[in-house]
Assembly symmetry: C2
């Protein structure tokens, strides 16, 4: 019993974010400093989240980590960066002295367990939610209150944006030590209540070229990426921030699509070229443009990260109809039940006119499923100890 009591356990959750001004390319590989600023929307944790439990105890012999139930290598350098930086902040907070009288000393070892409720590496930026959750959870465990996005950034660049809810800028900064390369909230998750986000899961296959290797090759070989980072993105950051502040969907949507396309253009300008969009992705892009053309108005936008899955932005009144349009193009395999996950969608009838305007050869099995969500808050401390992933002994709970 005394062994169990000497374990302190904290569980937190953190969100996925989707960039609308894309991050692609580092100026410093070690500190993870980007070549341009970026801007993202934080997705709601009711649909997509990482849950992390961290525990500390005198009884632990070494730092250990379990990802989705399987022990992983704690010596991964980015993981080590995050652990080291949170411990450093914790020591600083205590005046730089090791306090041997507290049971939760900085020198004690941690056990970490983390799970995602969505497929890892399916282009859904699982590393962003993962590192945001790790850093947030460790900070709660060690009682650290400081700015944490610069630490999360050292785990995975885009993780810094998952440290806030709503609409978030990652300001690239200028300093060589990266201290000014931080995430900042533009508006919180309540700012744009009728914004809806659909994730069209084209393929849950692991992507061929990971984003770390991909962006490194792009920085080395693409003349267009350099130009984009230096000369295109700065104005787009301002325009996007303004569009979000004013809830100007048309402007937000157009810029989101243009920036996604430009990011994928720089991948194609990379040598050898990198392709993340496949023929299904292109069909989705064409479908969105036909839908908007039909209304003579930009009612729906797409964006694609380093994978073929589409993330769709639209407004609540448009959502039901657009989902129906997508189902027409990509008829679900089964009765449609598990095809839609997340927020409720009401079936709706499409006019013949709309149907024929967007009509295309249907592609059955083109999509696996759709996740329906909206902007959500940043990382959360869980008060419910029943969701701890580590037992009272600090070992992973059996998944049974």
């Amino acid at each position: 019993m005394s062994a169990e009591k000497s374990v302190k356990t904290v569980t937190c959750t953190a969100p996925v974010n989707i960039a609308v001004i894309k991050y692609w390319g580092k100026r410093d590989e070690e500190l993870i400093l980007p070549i341009n600023s970026s801007l993202s929307v934080t997705l709601h944790q009711d649909q997509l989240k990482t849950t992390t439990t961290a525990a500390i105890s005198r009884n632990f012999k070494e730092d250990r980590i379990w990802l989705n139930g399987v022990e992983d290598n704690i010596n991964h350098s980015r993981l080590q960066s995050c652990l080291r930086e949170v411990r450093r902040l914790a020591r600083k907070r205590r005046g730089g002295e090791e306090d041997e009288t507290t049971p939760w000393s900085m020198s004690q070892k941690v056990h970490i367990a983390s799970v995602n409720n969505f497929p890892t590496a399916a282009g859904l930026a699982s590393s962003a939610a993962g590192y945001a959750c790790l850093v947030y959870t460790l900070s709660k465990l060690f009682g650290v209150e400081s700015e944490l996005s610069a630490i999360a950034r050292q785990g995975s660049g885009s993780a810094c944006r998952s440290m806030y809810g709503g609409f978030v800028q990652w300001v690239m900064g200028q300093r060589a030590d990266g201290k000014d390369s931080l995430a900042k909230q533009v508006e919180d998750e309540m700012h744009w209540p009728d914004l809806r986000i659909l994730i069209l899961v084209v393929s849950a296959e692991r992507k061929h070229i990971g984003s770390t290797a991909g962006m490194q090759t792009s920085v080395e070989t693409s003349p267009l990426l350099k130009y984009r980072a230096e000369s295109v993105v700065p104005a787009r950051m301002e325009e996007m921030t303004e569009a979000i502040r004013q809830r100007d969907f048309e402007r937000f949507a157009q810029l989101t699509m243009k920036d996604s396309n430009q990011f994928h253009a720089t991948c194609l300008d990379t040598f050898p070229p990198i392709f993340y969009l496949n023929d299904i992705s292109k069909r989705i892009i064409n479908l969105v443009h036909r839908y908007n053309d039909y209304y003579g108005q930009t009612k729906v936008a797409y964006t694609f990260d380093a994978g073929p899955n589409a993330v769709i932005f639209t407004l609540e009144p448009v959502m039901n109809e657009f989902v129906e349009v997508v189902k027409g193009c990509f008829p679900p395999e089964s009765n449609g039940g598990p095809f839609l996950k997340g927020l409720p969608v009401s079936p709706t009838d499409l006019s013949d006119e709309l149907r024929s305007a967007v009509e295309t050869e249907p592609t059955p099995r083109g999509l696996q499923y759709i996740i329906v969500t909206k902007p959500g808050p940043g990382p959360q401390l869980s008060e419910d100890s029943s969701i701890h992933l580590l037992g009272p002994d600090g070992e992973p709970k059996s998944s049974a």
Copy 2:
């Protein structure tokens, strides 16, 4: 009989060309002046050519044109530009006076018939060969000897490059009247005897977005295209010219691939985005990179125009093996006979090591066929009157 004798008939052929530094975007739509210089290889007419017959007679009531056996609209503005400009040169040559005593007066009407021996609009730049052939044939009919590429350019931009054999630059020029926007031969068709060109015909479907509309949208919407034209292409033109002069295949091949990729990147940066590459095109790209990686040397290059078909450059000693590799990836439907057209290819055995290095899931029916060719000469006057497409009366011969 007298009516027949009063018909003067000329037949010429002209080649297709494939750009290795791409042309995309006009600064003047009317005169067809490009936003950057470009460079191409002229393909041999033994495999791909346009044949055009033009006739002139007092008996003709109006200018008429037949394309692939079907009468077309002679009033097409680009066709009219070419007719007008050749007639103007002819008049100028005769001292600006209309000479009513010659039977082949400039004011007499022309009949034109033109056929391609390859699928129209399959991304094989049929308009380039077509307009080059038209202008060359009219010049022979009217006895004009001047520089003709500026006239062909007004039919279709890339047609100016089909006015020469071998390796050809289209120098963009600076003048507003376009008089300095001309094609110039870099090296003739004998310069690089072992260079081979394979056309991998992915799909003979008509492309969705024609290049005229596509490039106009790109100029209006793509920030990357503007940068490419102004800041990337000039140095590439010099490097490509140098690589060709030195027959430096490695340099030629790498730059060819990079420039193709960058062109398609600017199409993707266009809004709405334009996609010419499909999943089969990407498989070809990946196959080429895997093949080159296997040898640690750039032995093969790809380039793609405004369509999914690949054009492959390689050297004669490599060709047989690479064709075998392509056949492994895209198994021909039939016995392989009609799958290969053009220059002979010898079947060859692939080592198991190579096979497994480039191995991929085979895609039957991914390719329709392969045309094997090499660099060839510019337009040719045919001395053989039996190939005239117009009969002695100046009407199209029956195709029977």
